[in-house]
Assembly symmetry: D4
Homo-oligomer: 255 residues x 8
C-alpha cells in the first residue's frame, strides 16, 4: 500500500486520519517489503501459516512483515526468536500480539486452530534448557496441540525421570530437550516406543562445542525411534511434533 | 542350553543325533552368550522385538544370538547390517531366515505384525543411496507398514520430483534419503506438511566428509517439519517412521 | 605527500590554506602509508582498480588510502566491509564517495566502466541473506554490469522460485546467495546450465557452524555448473560474475 | 526392453540371435533400471546430456544405464570416476566407448558437440594432481571446448609459472588444480582477471586433512575472481569452465 | 647380549647349543634395541613394570623387547594391542607368555602382584564394546585387582542396568565402557558416588566420528565424579582404576 | 511456601513482619520453582548434597533455589560458576553464604563434612590457569578434603616442577590443571603412580581452539594413570578427586 | 618485601616516605605473588629473561610481576599482549617501561642485548597483518637483532614481492606473516633457501576459521625450509628467529 | 632423449645394444615426462637439488624422473616416501641408488655436499616414531650435516631425557619427533634456547586424530623457540634444520 493508496482510502473514509498517519509513518518499512516474499496461500495450502523467524531481521522489517500480513487478512501470526524490542516494534501495527519472554515467541491468534487428539510431552533436562523447551511447547500450542511440560529431569538424577513414566505413556509424541551430553533423549527413547524428537541445546561449555556434542550424541542414540533437530531449535521440534500429532486426528471430530 | 541339557533331550528323544551334534557344535557360541543380554520381554512390553545390529558382532555371535532367540520362542527376528557371511552362519540355526542383499537385512517372521493404516513413502535422491533407502523400507515393512519406494529423484532434476507429488500426498510419513548436499529433504519438506524424516548418506567424496555435510545441511533445513537420523541409518528412519505411523491405528481395526 | 610538499604546494597556490590544513591534519595517516602498498597500475594492467577491504583497517588507515588513491589520480574507488564510521572518515578526503548501508560498500566513480553485454542475476534465499546479496550486486554494478536482484526465493517455498524461471534464463551468470542448508544453489543449478556462483552466508545457528554447513553443502551440490566462494563473500561473487560476464563483450561494441 | 520385446525383435529379424542372447544376458540389469531415472530430455533442454557418475554404482548398474541410454538413442555418453572394470562391463553393450585411464573417464561421442570460441586452460601444481586435472580437461573437451593443459607448475618453483604467462592470457577461463596448500590458485588469480576455477585435490598428508586444507585455502584466496569446486572434482570444474566458455559463442558461428 | 657373550656362555655350558642358536638367530633384533629404551627400574620405583604397547612396533621389535626384559630379569611383562602374530614372535623367546584373543593382551607373570582390597567393576554397553572392556579388565587383573565384568547393559534397556545396582555398590571404582552416544557413563555416574572412569569406544558409524561423539558426550556428562580416557583406551582405564584402587590398601595387610 | 503460608506464619508469630515482607518479595522466584527439581534426598543417599551450577541460571533462579534449599533444611550449599551479582542475590535469602571471587564459588556450610585421610594436590601450569585450579581446590575442600595448591609450575620451566616432587608424593590424588598444550599432565603422570586427574583450560589462543588442544593432548598422554575432565571443569576434577580420596577413609576414624 | 621490611627500610632511611607509601600501596599485589613463580635465573642460564605474557593476567598481576622483577634486579623486561591499561598499571612501579601500541608490547631495557651478526626480515601480506608482524619484529629487536620490515606484499600482487628479492637474500632468517590463505609463506619459501618461519594470522572471515586455514595451508606448504608457529604468535616467531640468528654469532665479536 | 637420439648414440657407439634396449624400453616413461617439470637449475641457484616426493607418483614416473635427472647430469638425487617397489624401478636406470628401509628414502650421491659446522640432534619420543625421525636424520645427512639420533626419550620417563642434556647442548638445532600428545617438544623447548623444530607424528589412536592432536599441542607449546612442520614430515624438518644449520658455516672453511 503506497502513499497514494493510503490517501485514497482516507478520501473514501475507509480509514481514519489516525490510521492514515500510522500507515504513512510505517511507510518506509512497507515499501521495503521487497525484502520479503510472504506466502499468503500457505495456510490454505498446508493448514499452517508462514512463520516469521525474527533473528536475522531488523525491528523495522519485523514490523513491516506483521503489518503486511495483517493487511492481507492473515488470522494467525507466529514470530520466533523475537527480542522484546522487535516485539514492541511489531505491536505498533498489531496491538493484539502477545509475547512470551522465556521462549521469545510472539503470537497473534484471535481464533485458535482446532486441537489435535493426541497430547505432546515436552521434557527438559535442566533449568538452563527451559527457554528451548518452552519454544517447542509454545509452537505446538499455537498450532493446535495440548502440551504438557516436565522440567529438570536430567539423567544425573534418573530416579526423577522414573517418577514420570505415566506422563510419558500418556503422550502421542515426546520432545526431549537437553544440553551437555544430551543423554536424556536416549534414556526416554529406551523407556518408550512413542516417537521421540530430540532437541540438543547449547547449554554447557568447553568440549560441549556450542551444542554439537549433544547433537552428535543424540544422533548416535542407541535407542530406536528417535530423530533430531538442529541445536536450540525448539520451534522445529514443536512443529515436527505437531506434524506427527496431526495423524491422531482432530478432537472436534470426536463430537 | 548346556551340554547336559542337550544330552538329556537326546536321551528323551526330543532331538535327533544330528540335532544334538549341531547343538554341541554351536555350544561354544551359546556359552559365550555372556556377550549379549537379550531382552525377551521387549516385544511384550513395547510391541517391537529386540533387533540384532550385526555390524559389531562376529558371525559366531550373530548365530549364537539367533539360536538363543529361537530357543526362547521369539517369533520375530530382524538383523541389520548383516553381511552375507553372518547371515549364512545364522541360517545354520534358523533355516527360515530370509536375506535381502541390497539392504543387508535378514528377517525371520512367520507371522507378520498387523499393518498400520497409514502408508510410508521412502524417497531417495540417487542410485547410490538405494541401500540405505532399502534398509529403511525393509525395516518399516517388517514392523507392519505398507511402504512405497521412489528412487533417483534428486534435486538436480527437480521436475522429476514434481511428477510424484501425488505419492507424497498419499503418505502419512515420508523418509527422504540423500547424500552429497542432502537438498532433497528441504525440497520435500517445502512441498508437504507431513512429517519428514531425513536420512543423510555417506554418498559423495571430498568436502562431503563421509556424510557429515548432508547431515548438517538436513539439520539446517529451512523447511519446517523435518527431523534427522544418523548418517546411513536407514534402520533408524524406518523405525521412527513406524513409530509415527502407529498413530494412524491398525488396519485390522477397520474391519 | 610530506609536510614540505604540502607547504610548497601552498606556496605555489596549488592548494588553499584550508586544504593545506586538512592535509597536514591527515599527515599522520599519510606518513603511515607504509602500512599499505597500493597498486596504481592495476587498473591499467587488468581493467579493474585495486579494491579497499576495510574490515581489518582502522578508520584512519581507510582515509589515508583513499586520500592516497585520489592524489594518484585514481578514478574508481570501491571500499567493501566499510562501516559507516570508516566511510565518514574517508569522506573527509573524498566528499564524492557514496555509501550503501545494507551492503556496507562505498563507491567513488565519476565515470562508470563500460557495460558488459550480458546481464547478471543475484538471487537470495531469505531476508537475512540480503546484505551479502546486495554486496555482490553492488560490486558487479560498480565494475560495469547490469544486475537484477531477486529476494527471498528460498527452497521452503519452491514454487516462488519457479515463477522466476524467465529471469534465470535471461541472465548470463547467476549468483545464488543462501544460508542455513544452502539448497538454493542446487535447485537453481538444476534448472539452468548457466554458470552459477554460489555464496554461502553465515545466516543460521547451531549446526550451521557459522556458515560452514551452507558452504559444504554448496560444494557438494549434485547440480553441475556450480562453483563456490567464501562464506558471506558477496564481493568475491560479484567480482567473479563480472569476470565471467566480460566474455559476453561490451555493450558499446554493439553500437 | 523386457524378454518379450527381445524375442519379438528377434522374430521380426530386427536383431540377430547373438544380439538377442546378449540382451537377455543383460536382462537382469535392465530390469533393475528401477535403480535409475535417466533424464532423456536433458540434452534437448540444456544442450548437455546426463552424465553417469560411476563411483557409487555397481558394474552391472553402469552397464545397464549405458545400454538403456543407447536404446533411447542418446548420442553422447560421458561416464566419470569409472574404473576399468566398470568400463569393460559397459563396453559389452556399447563397444564404441573409449576410455582414458588417467582421468577414469569413458566417452561415447560419434558426433562431437560444436566447439566454443574461447579456449580453456587447465593448470596443475604437481605430478600427483594430474588425474584430477585430466578429468577436468577431458570433460571440457567432451562438451565442446579446446583445452590446453599445463603440468607441474607449482608455487615452489614460481618462475616456471611465469614462463607460461602468455598461455594464461590466451585462455578465456582457467582451471587451477592443486593439492597441499593450494597456493597455485591464488598466484594465478593474482596474475590475471580471467575467471579462475580452483580445484583442490586430496594430494598431501597429515594436516592436509584429505584435501580440506587446499579447499579452505582456495576459498580464502586473497585474489579476486576465483571460485572453488569440491575436492578432486575435476568433472565439476570442467563443466563449469564449459558453462562459462559458452558465453564466448560457438566457433561455427564464425564461418 | 652380543655374539661374543652368547658364545662364552655356551663355552661355560650356561646355555645349550639350541639356546645359543636361538639367541644368535634373534641377534638382529636385540642389537636393534637401540629402538627402545626400556626402563628397568620402573617397577622398583613405582611398583608397576614398563608396559609394551605393541601397536606401533614390528613383530621383531616386540620379540626383541620381551627377550631383553627377560634377560634383565623382569618378572612381570604386559603387552597390549598385541596381534596374534606379534604374540607368536614374542613367545619364541618367552614360552610362558599367555595370550587373550579378545583383549589382544599378552601376559607373563609367574608371581602375581599382591591384591588390592577394593574391587573394580567393568561395565560395558554392548557386545561390540567387549574387546575394550576386556582390555581394561585384564590390565587391572594383571596389576593386582579383583575385577567383575558386566556386559551389554546399555541405556536402551535401562532396566537391565538397574538390576545390577548391588554390583555397582560393592565396587570401589567403576569403569564404564560405551560407544555410540556413550550415555552409560552418565547413567552410572548418576547412580553412584564411586569414582567412574569412562571409556568411549569407536563402536558406531556416521556421526559417531570414530568415537569422538562418545568421548565428547562423556566429557560433558552431567553426572559428577566421572573422568574420561582416550577412545578405546581400555588399558588406560584399567591402569587408572588400579591407581585408584591402590588407595584401599593391600588384602595381604588384612591377615 | 506460598503467600498464604507466609501470612499464616506471620499470624502465628513464627516470623516477623520484615521477614514476611522479604518472603513475599521473593515470592515470584519461589513460585517459579517449577524451573528446578531439587533432589533433597541426595545428601542422605550419597553423602553429597546437590550442587547449584549457576552459569545457565538467572540471579532470581539462583536465589530461589538457595531459599528453597534453606527452607528444606539443607545444611550444605555449594554454588559454582557464580558471578558476584548472583551471589549477592542469593545472600539476600541466606546471609551466611561466603564467596570466593577467583573461583566464582559460593559456599554455605555451618558444619563441615568430615575430613578424608588422604591429601589432594592441585597443581596448575600458569597464572592464567589459577581460577580453574582454585575451583577444583575449593570444591574438594567443601566436600571434606585437605588440599594443597601449587601454582605456575609449567613445563617450560620444568626444574620448578622437580623441586616439588615431595609434595607430589605426599598426596593421594593429584589434579593437574593446564592450558595451551597441556603437557603438565603428562609430566606429572610420568613422575608418579598416583591417580592424576587432568583438567584442560581454555587458556591460550589460535590453534588452542578454546581448550580443545589441551583436552586432546591430555587424552593422548603417554603417561598411564591419567584421566581427563571437561575444559575448565575445576568443579568436576575436585569432585572426582574427592570420590577417589574417600577410599582412604575418614580421619575421624583414626581417633 | 612485606610490610615489616618496608618499614624497616624506611627506618634505616633506605627509602623515603613516598617510596614507602608506594610500596605499601602495591603490597596487595606483591603478596599475591603466589600467583606467579618467576624464574630469575633464566637469563643467566639461557641468555634470555622470562617474558611476561600479559593476556591471561589482571592489571594488578602484571604490575606485581614487574615490580617483583625490578626488586630482584632484572635488567630486561618484555611484556607481550599487553593492553594499554595493563601497561599503565605496570608503569606505576617501573616508569621507564616503553610501550608500542600496534604490537601491544612493553619493554624495559636500559642496556640492550648484544646484536647478532645476521639480519632478520619480517614480511607481511596485508595491512591487517601488521600488528602480528610488528610483534615479531619488536620481540626480535628486544633480544638483540637487526630487523627489517616489509609490509603489504601479498600474493595477489605478486610482482610487488619480486621487487624485494634483494632484501630477502640479505637476511639470515625470514618471518612471513599472512592471514586468509597464507600463500605468502609458500611463495617466499619457493624463492629462497633461507629458513622461513611462517606466522598465520586470524585475518579473514568465514571459511578462514579464525586463522586455522592459513595455519593448515602453511603446514602443507609445498616449499621446503618452512616451519610454522601458532596463529597470531608474532612473539614466538620473533623468538624463534632470534634463536636461529644466534647461530650467526655476535657482531661485537667482529671488532 | 627420444628414440632417434638413442639410435644415433648407438650408431656412434656411445652406447651398447643392451643400453639402447634398456633406454627404448624406458621410453614410455621418458616421453611421459610431460608429467613432471624438473628444475635443473635449482641446485646451482640454491645449493639444494630438487627432491623427488615419490608418494603420489607411480613406479614408472619415479623411474622416469630419476633417469631424466641422470641424463641431465644431476649429481645428487634424493627420493622420499619411496616404497621398495618404486626404489627397485628407479634402480633399473640408476644402479648406484641406495635405499634406507625405515625412512623410505633413496639416495644417489657420489660426491657428498660439504659439511656444515654445527651438529643437528634428532630426538624421538617412542619406538613407533622412529621412521619419521630417521627421515629427518637421513635428509639432513644427505644435505651435508652431522646428525645425532636419540630414540625413545618420551615424557613418561622424563628422567631418561635428563640424562641426555649434554647432547642437547652440543647441537645447533634440535628436531623433536613425537606422536600422541607431543609433549616432548615442550619439554626439550623448556630445557634449551636452541631452535627446536617439532615434528608431530600420526602415532596414536582415537582422539589423536591422525596426528592432529600432537600437531596442535606443539603449536601451543608454552616453550618459546619452537616451530612446527606437518604431521610425519620428517623430510621438512630435516630440510629446515639444514637451512638453519647453514648459518653456522661450512667445516671446510675451518681448514
Amino acid at each position: 500500500m503506497n502513499t497514494t493508496d493510503i490517501l485514497r482510502r482516507l478520501e473514501k473514509k475507509e480509514i481514519t486520519v489516525e490510521e492514515a498517519e500510522q500507515l504513512l509513518q510505517n511507510g518506509e518499512e512497507k515499501q521495503e517489503l521487497e525484502y520479503a516474499n510472504i506466502d499468503y496461500e500457505r495456510e490454505e495450502r498446508t493448514g499452517v501459516p508462514e512463520v516469521i523467524y525474527c533473528a536475522g531481521k531488523t525491528a523495522g522489517q519485523v514490523r513491516g512483515i506483521v503489518q503486511n500480513m495483517r493487511e492481507h487478512g492473515q488470522k494467525h501470526i507466529l514470530g520466533t526468536r523475537c527480542s522484546r524490542e522487535k516485539y514492541e516494534a511489531a505491536r505498533e501495527v498489531c496491538p493484539e500480539l502477545e509475547y512470551d519472554e522465556m521462549s521469545q515467541i510472539m503470537v497473534y491468534q484471535p481464533e485458535p486452530f482446532p486441537l489435535n487428539r493426541g497430547k505432546i510431552l515436552v521434557a527438559c533436562a535442566g533449568t538452563s534448557d527451559l527457554p528451548v523447551a518452552r519454544e517447542a511447547a509454545q509452537t505446538a500450542r499455537f498450532l493446535g496441540n495440548e502440551v504438557e511440560e516436565v522440567c529438570d529431569v536430567g539423567v544425573a538424577g534418573i530416579h526423577r525421570l522414573f517418577a514420570r513414566l505415566d506422563i510419558i505413556e500418556s503422550a502421542s509424541v515426546i520432545v526431549a530437550v537437553a544440553g551437555m551430553e544430551g543423554a536424556l533423549a536416549s534414556v526416554i527413547g529406551g523407556l518408550t516406543d512413542k516417537p521421540v524428537i530430540a532437541v540438543p541445546t547449547s547449554v554447557g561449555y568447553g568440549a560441549n562445542l556450542g551444542g554439537m556434542t549433544a547433537l552428535l550424541a543424540m544422533l548416535n542414540s542407541c535407542a530406536s525411534g528417535t530423530s533430531v533437530v538442529n541445536i536450540d531449535n525448539g520451534f522445529g521440534a514443536g512443529y515436527m511434533a505437531h506434524s506427527i500429532n496431526c495423524l491422531t486426528g482432530k478432537r472436534e471430530e470426536d463430537k
